[in-house]
């Protein structure tokens, strides 16, 4: 098709009376018709002096004296057919009604601030933040500014940001749970990795996720139950953070009518912070018991048992499946392959006094560290070893071992193939967020390993009967694969030490 220059082709210029459309509508019509094949130029406009001038400039001067209430239709096209079609299209476009809904699609909230803004201010609400760590403070700060508490699951949040968030939260009268907080139960709602436990009078403040799961499951097994589990993040009791969230959580539980006793669970805290928290706890009207791990207090189960004593209750027989009575091979060492960091710490604290040094990627003392390359984890150091597969260095680019067992299953197979005599100690954590059926992968792996080597297996199975996976169902499956199963990690560890013939 040739491209005619200005003045070429055929033209149509007409004026109509009694037709009005606003200028925007007419500009749209001009644009749409102008885009048709064979159309060179279009002007559909009310015949105001301005528009008549424009038309003249385009070679469309109308005959006679146009008045501003007339509609000017001017089209130039390559030939008569295109021209007729274009004029018809102008009529059709003018007649067309806009067919659209009168309401907008809701615009999605893109920030925690916008999401909270949509809530009724009177509704109790909690924000959960699991965005990449470098951005977590932005979303958490929104919640604090809105007067809402926030659970920060994200890890990799710089410690100075954690401190700033927790200070702001304290001033705003809300709580920052985290960062790196994977476990909480608030008024019966399980957040993250948490177990289905019965409601009860014990409030838990936890700087440790699996530690909180262990104590809440034991309290459930004892028929006691929990009011709330408030996670505070693994660094809260460090020197840098100074227990800011722990102190606020304690005050909140003290004010909570459903909470009669409080248990504080953590990995070994900074001594000065432990002291400050102890002082604050002593000032509350609700009795507070510490289950902070230390060489002197290495045992979460013992802390729960002491709490039961405070409540005037008997300590139950903790659930277990003792498994086959078998001996460890001569010269056996302890191989603890854990998914829960606090459970690994507890195992090491219990084992160290009887076995001596235990090497680890999260060691009790720095000189016991294993060098672990996250891209090719070699966890096969000889001697007593406890590995925390949930450590940040081993979760880069993959899911937490409570969801993805791959690395640990590989380590079990490698241990069986290594020929090093050992007792294998494992944790399996049940509940919301965890693998829907951990025994399904673990039991065959244990069976295969035990077929290859003389390998006693002891499992700390942390969970409740009400958990989606069911404690007994998992315990039975693991026991059938030859494992001795304990609801208490301390009991499991002691059993393993016993198999090693250690003097307890």
């Amino acid at each position: 098709m040739s491209a005619p220059g200005p003045g070429e082709g055929v033209r149509h210029v007409s004026l109509r009376s009694g037709v009005y459309a606003d200028s925007v509508r007419l500009m749209q019509v001009s644009r749409d018709v102008g885009a048709r094949e064979g159309v060179i130029a279009v002007l559909v406009a009310m015949a105001t002096p301005l528009n008549v001038d424009l038309a003249a400039g385009m070679g469309f001067a109308p005959d006679g004296t146009p008045s501003p209430d007339q509609l000017l239709i001017a089209v130039r096209a390559v030939d008569d057919d295109a021209l007729a079609a274009a004029v018809t299209a102008v009529d059709a476009a003018l007649a067309e009604r806009e067919r659209s809904r009168a309401t907008a699609d809701a615009q999605p909230a893109r920030t925690i601030a916008a999401g909270l803004d949509d809530l009724d201010p009177g509704t109790p609400a909690l924000a959960i933040v699991s965005v990449p760590g470098q951005y977590a403070a932005l979303e958490a700060a929104d919640a604090i500014a809105a007067g809402r508490s926030v659970l920060v699951f994200s890890d990799g949040v710089p410690v100075e940001q954690e401190v700033a968030l927790k200070r702001a939260a304290h001033e705003a009268g809300v709580l920052v749970m985290g960062p790196d907080c994977g476990t909480a139960i608030v008024a019966g709602v399980a957040l993250g990795f948490a177990n289905v436990v019965r409601p009860g009078p014990v409030g838990v403040v936890a700087a440790s996720g699996t530690g909180a799961q262990q104590v809440s499951c034991l309290l459930d097994a004892a028929g006691v139950g929990v009011s709330h589990v408030l996670g505070v993040g693994g660094r809260d009791l460090s020197e840098a953070v100074g227990g800011l969230a722990t102190l606020d959580a304690l005050a909140a539980l003290d004010a909570d009518p459903a909470t009669e006793r409080v248990l504080v669970v953590s990995k070994p805290p900074a001594p000065s912070v432990a002291e400050a928290v102890g002082r604050a706890a002593a000032g509350l009207s609700t009795p507070v018991r510490s289950a902070a791990l230390s060489p002197e207090t290495p045992d979460l189960t013992a802390a729960v048992e002491a709490l039961l004593g405070d409540l005037g209750l008997d300590v139950p027989v903790w659930p277990s499946r003792p498994g086959p009575a078998e001996a460890a091979p001569p010269g056996a060492v302890l191989k603890g392959l854990y998914s829960g960091g606090t459970l690994a710490d507890e195992a090491m604290l219990l084992a160290a006094p009887v076995l001596g040094d235990v090497r680890s990627n999260t060691p009790l003392r720095p000189e016991l560290g294993l060098v672990i390359d996250p891209s090719a984890p070699d966890l096969s150091a000889a001697g007593h070893v406890v590995v925390d597969f949930g450590d940040d260095a081993l979760t880069v680019g993959r899911a937490h071992p409570m969801i993805d067992p791959t690395l640990r299953l590989e380590a079990i197979a490698r241990l069986a193939a290594s020929g090093e005599p050992a007792v294998l100690l494992l944790d399996v954590v049940l509940g919301h967020g965890a693998d829907a059926d951990p025994a399904a992968a673990l039991a065959p792996a244990l069976t295969a390993a035990r077929a290859q080597a003389q390998l006693p297996v002891v499992v700390a199975l942390v969970g409740t009967e009400a958990d989606p996976q069911g404690w007994s169902r998992q315990a039975d499956a693991l026991a059938a694969a030859g494992a001795a199963v304990f609801a208490s990690n301390a009991a499991a560890t002691r059993y393993a030490l016993d198999l090693l013939g250690a003097e307890l």
């Binding site: 009168a102 924000a127 470098q134 919640a143 508490s149 709602v189």
Partner: protein
């Protein structure tokens, strides 16, 4: 012990959850029957993560933004006078004001050059276009942004000493703001046209319209309340930037009795009334200083991330914030998308130009698009698009302006006070309605449409605000 509502009542019953990040959490919560709203989170589009965090955690920010936005909302705007720009803007001879951030003749676009040339001819500083261009190229005329003199100007915004300026006052904060008189549509100086028609009109505005308006405004017993008119416009289908029909008619209604009562030739009065009534954007030059007064009230609040100015000079887009004073953060002006007059097309349009984005900075214009569904069709959109635009802008802003209620949003206040941090985090840029000037000097208006600021403005503003926050810490 009874509940003290500790942690905002968090422990009193199952909380509603708002979640940002991985969806595993939300699924598990829903399985428990909890109420969960997932945020449509995405990584911030602008800004270094450490800068963003420094701002989010700046302990001054919440209070500073509250202070800044309260001043914006409280500001009023009353028309107190009409004076020659020379008097009220302190315009020395051979000084011209222009829209947007600072600009040189070399960097000026077609319509800006056209308007500057036209102003030199109008002032008699040159007698031909060539002389005017030579004068401007030689640096013989000082160029300065309107914003540096408490003024705003639509499109090229070129304001010369002999032009008359509206003088508006904020009775609450005491500020003053100025704007020249609107010339109408088509071939006009602000769109870069400077032919005889333009110069003749400017001369009439100088010799007849300006003096009449000055006398009329001074004679009014009840001063013209420009903020009240703007508020009413939103109830009448205007958004106060690209659509000022109702506002212009209300202005005509308010000014007419005073104009008619003047002891002045009836031909002149009739011409003035015809001119005002024939210009559906006449109110824009009163709306802009109204917005300017409000945004100037929020200037210089340390720690505030509120945007106080968005303005374009046809080459660059400039932004200022409450926390960084008079500093400009600039990036290349974008070309609007919209509809064209006659057979003009996208290739004829100049990049974004004008101080009129002060309207969006104040929360009207495109931010209140829902009030003026007609405007959204400039980009072939629909009524739902208009509502959606306003809904999105609520997520960029710090407050809802109760004085500027939008009927179709249930009389929700206009989304007001752009937060630099919210722009960075949502990835949504402020929406602006605008006219389009022809790229070639002398062309005039070629269309109207929608445009956004360049990301660079917000990147720079964010970095500067973060730097300031660290210094203050």
């Amino acid at each position: 012990m009874t509940s003290t509502g500790a942690l905002g009542g968090l422990l009193d019953g199952p909380p509603a959850v708002v979640a940002a990040g991985v969806e595993v959490f939300s699924g598990a919560l829903r399985a428990q029957g909890a109420s969960v709203a997932d945020v449509d989170w995405r990584p911030p589009a602008v800004g270094d993560p450490a800068d963003l965090a420094a701002l989010a955690l700046d302990p001054r920010r919440a209070a500073a933004n509250r202070t800044a936005v309260e001043r914006v909302l409280a500001a009023g705007s009353v028309l107190v006078d009409v004076r020659p720009a020379r008097e009220v803007l302190g315009l020395e001879d051979r000084t011209l004001l222009h829209s947007g951030p600072p600009l040189t003749w070399e960097a000026a676009s077609g319509p800006m050059r056209g308007a500057l040339v036209g102003a030199c001819l109008f002032e008699g500083w040159a007698s031909t276009v060539e002389e005017a261009e030579a004068l401007l190229a030689s640096g013989g005329v000082a160029l300065e942004p309107c914003h540096h003199r408490s003024a705003v100007g639509p499109m090229a915004g070129v304001t010369s000493p002999s032009m008359w300026a509206w003088c508006l006052e904020d009775p609450v904060n005491g500020g003053r703001a100025y704007c020249n008189l609107n010339e109408g549509l088509g071939k006009v100086l602000r769109m870069g046209a400077f032919n005889e028609e333009v110069l003749t009109r400017l001369a009439w505005m100088r010799d007849v319209l300006g003096p009449l308006l000055a006398r009329a405004v001074r004679s009014m017993a009840e001063p013209f309340d420009a903020k009240a008119v703007l508020a009413q416009m939103l109830q009448m289908g205007d958004e106060g930037h690209n659509r000022n029909r109702a506002g212009s008619l209300m202005t005509l209604r308010e000014l007419s009795p005073a104009l008619v009562a003047l002891d002045a030739p009836s031909d002149d009065v009739a011409a003035a009334l015809r001119f005002i009534g024939g210009n559906e954007h006449f109110f824009l030059n009163l709306g802009m200083p109204t917005a300017k007064l409000a945004m100037d009230a929020a200037r210089d609040v340390p720690g505030s991330t509120l945007v106080t100015v968005m303005a374009r000079n046809g080459t660059e887009f400039g932004v200022q914030t409450a926390g960084t004073g008079d500093r400009w953060f600039t990036g290349p002006a974008q070309t609007p998308v919209g509809l064209f007059l006659g057979d003009y097309g996208p290739e004829d349009a100049n990049p974004d130009i004008g101080d009129s984005a002060i309207m969006e900075t104040y929360g009207v214009g495109a931010f209140s698009m829902a009030a003026a569904p007609a405007i959204v069709r400039f980009v072939g959109g629909t009524v739902p698009d208009a509502l959606a635009t306003t809904e999105r802008m609520y997520q960029l802003t710090l407050a809802e302006n109760p004085a500027m209620a939008i009927p179709i949003m249930g009389f929700r206040g206009a989304p007001t006070g752009i937060d630099v941090l919210a722009v960075a985090r949502t990835g949504w840029l402020p929406q602006i309605n605008t006219g389009m000037a022809g790229r070639v000097a002398g062309t005039g208006q070629v269309g109207a449409g929608l445009v956004q600021p360049p990301r660079e403005c917000f990147e720079q503003a964010l970095a500067a605000l973060a730097q300031e926050a660290r210094t203050a810490a």
